[in-house]
Structures are given as C-alpha cells and as structure tokens.
Assembly symmetry: C2
Homo-oligomer: 164 residues x 2
C-alpha cells in the first residue's frame, strides 16, 4: 500500500460515513411535511425546525474551522446554536432553511472533494500548533468524524417527527 | 510522516470518537434512575432499556464481525435487534443489562487496543474479498466509524429520558 493510497482510503472512510448521514437526513426531510418539521421532536423538546437550523449552523461553521472560507449563513449561529429553541425568535421559513441546508451540504461536498489529500491531516483552526504537535489526531478529518456523530445524534431525535 | 505514524494517527482519530460516545452514554446512564431507563424515550417510541439492549447487542456483534472472537451475549441479538420493543418479551433486569454494557465496552476496548495496526485496514467479515479489492475503505476500522454513528443516533434519543 503506498502512502497516497492510505490517505485516500482513510479519507474515503470518513467522507462516505458523512455522506451516508446526509443522505439519511435528506430522506427524512423528504418524508416530513412542514407541519411535522415545525413540531416538537418529543413533548417539551427541540422542534424539528430548530434542529435543522442547528445542523445547518454547526456544519456551516466547519467551513472556517477547516480554513476553507467564510460561513455561508453566519447569522444562523446565534439563532440555532447560541440561543435555545422557543426563545421567541422568528425562524426563517421551512422552505428557506431547506435551501440553506442543501447549499451548505453541497458547498462542503465541493470543498471536501477538492481538498488536497495531505491537507486533511493538518491541524484545524481551533487547535494550537503546540497542542497539535502533541495530539496529531486533532486534524481536519477528525472534525468531519466528530460532526458526523453530531448529526447522527440529532437525526435520531428528528426521526421522531415521522408518523408511527 | 512515516507510514506507521499515519496508521496510528488515523486509528486514534476513530477510536477517540468511539470512546467519546461511550463516555457520553455512561454519563447518561449514571444520571438515569431505573424507572427513567425503562420509560419510553418519547410517546409510543422505544424505551430506554430496549435501546440500551439494542446497543449492547449491536456492539457485541462487532466482535465476530472483526474476527476477534464470539459474541458475549448472543441471546440478546434476537431480543433487541430482530424483535421490536414492546413485543411481549421479558427483558433482563436493568442492573444486569448495565453489567452487560460495561462488559461489552471493556471487552471491545481490550480487543481494539491490542489489534495490530495493519489489521484495522483489512476487510471485515461481511465484505467479500472481491468487493474489498474494489472498495478497500470497507475495512475493520470503518465498522467502528459506522457503529459510533449508530450509537450517537440512539444516544440522541436516550437523552430524552433525562428530566428537563
């Protein structure tokens, strides 16, 4: 196995799991009505629309974290990450949020697919050079593993929006 | 970066995310009473105890899938994977299931930590040699990435057992 092949296999492992979670969320979104999506995932818990906004904002923040560019929707971070659900905010309409979701997903895919292989194993923007020297696993690809788990966590909750 | 270092960093990335999810589930289990754990995660949805049994059974099945040995609790697979919740089955008591969970987690940790590095990049038991030649990312380490996401998904649901 050459060194380049190893990189390629690693990256493929991580990105294929990332894409799988995106596919699953898209499949769920296609099945849910706007009314279902704006409902609570369980009594007293986050609404589907808040969780969708939360995933958009958290995934959008991956762009600067990997030093790939600026966030597409910086205004969503306060609304869906800093502020809790049901705090009197006016969320964008469902159709707009779905467009944002699609745009963030496709933008990340483009960035990810054009990233030079060795770049994935460099440090991300929230770990210092000193810490990275000691913990080289805290690289850019690790962010994708972490965010894939984050998305799975909330997907499990959003699945409760579907009719039984 | 030497080839061995690359393997090491990559394995560390995957296993540290796996351990993180185990830690989070353990923290949740420590906070939940037996009564909470046997409740539904949302009205009409799976109970906490079913999801705990489900995670034990699915993670236990990783042992033979990675060719590491036999399942510790083969009888749980039918109960918590093949059969749905609330199908009239008698589940083991919570305290016993918690012991099984601990034992599966620790057994996998021992196996994982003693696996030779290159072994992680060999095929797992449910992909054929022919398919693996075409898709070398379908290796043993990929199973851990996938099962980490699976656990995150259900952890998001089990988090709803906690009092608000």
């Amino acid at each position: 196995m050459t060194s380049n092949n190893q990189y390629e296999v690693f990256i493929k492992m991580v990105l294929s799991n990332w894409e799988l979670q995106n596919t699953r969320l898209n499949e769920l979104l296609n099945k849910l009505s706007d009314k279902q999506l704006t409902s609570e995932t369980a009594p007293g818990r986050n609404t589907g629309i808040y969780l969708l906004g939360h995933l958009i904002a958290v995934n959008d923040a991956v762009i600067p974290l990997l030093n790939l560019g600026n966030k597409l929707y910086p205004e969503l971070y306060d609304m869906f990450v800093e502020q809790p659900d049901k705090s009197g905010q006016n969320f964008p309409p469902v159709s707009e949020l779905k467009d944002y979701w699609k745009n963030v997903t496709e933008t990340l895919r483009r960035y990810f697919n054009s990233m030079p292989m060795e770049e994935w194993f460099k440090r991300h923007m929230s770990v210092s050079e000193v810490d990275f020297a000691k913990e080289p696993h805290r690289n850019k690809l690790n962010i994708v593993i972490n965010r894939t788990n984050h998305q799975s966590y909330h997907l499990g909750q959003m699945a409760y929006l579907e009719k039984k």
